[in-house]
Point group: C2
Chain length 145, copies 2
Amino acid sequence: MDKYFKIAIDEARKGLSEGGIPIGSVIVHNGEILGKGHNRRVQKRSVILHGEMDAFEDAGRQPASVYKDSVLYTTLSPCPMCTGTILLYGIKKVIIGENSNFLGWEDLLRKNDVEVVVLNDRECISMMESFIKDNPELWNEDIGE
Amino acid sequence: MDKYFKIAIDEARKGLSEGGIPIGSVIVHNGEILGKGHNRRVQKRSVILHGEMDAFEDAGRQPASVYKDSVLYTTLSPCPMCTGTILLYGIKKVIIGENSNFLGWEDLLRKNDVEVVVLNDRECISMMESFIKDNPELWNEDIGE
């Protein structure tokens, strides 16, 4: 398994162990981890810290040229908010663990020339599936439903 | 002037007085202010706290039905990130101070049945215009350029 994707899964697991929603993300530039994070809706009572957003916040203020040359890993297909953030900063490639529990705005990413790879990773699928089954209200809140 | 829009401008001014980017936002539900905030890129070294995002974070965890029945005020046309967040939470109406210094994704909002009102407010235009003139690099960083 890709070592960066493995770190995204580790972040998702960390979120779960904290009582949170198990979605993790990593941003990589030239083989170096710029930022990583996980969903913190529960932990920080945040409505904007999805996994991808937490990774951006961890990466912090970078020159546009750095973000435009970076790859983002996420365990779950990115929602409209995270898709917009990926496009704002010009991330060129997004590697997604799975999109069977939730399909985000992958089409809008592709339409804007972002390379999108979906891994259909079994561990991501089963971790998210059982979380949603056990916490339907919390999950719906996270996707605005 | 609409009293909520005036509060959004006050938030933008507060940001400016803190040395930050002067963009403010307010989220209103049934005539009650749910959250308000301003861009905090400089103040918190944040890459996700645009004015609108700061207002969402201030509003916090709300039932989907509340966000879906809310109006968002912002002094400047919303970028892709903030547009995605508005759509994630199903905000039904967005009132924008101006879009002449920056035109965000208003078309995507309209396409998704969000009512969009642009006020062409002179104070917003001149405050942002002079900020961009004096801080071109900071401004470009904020819009990923």
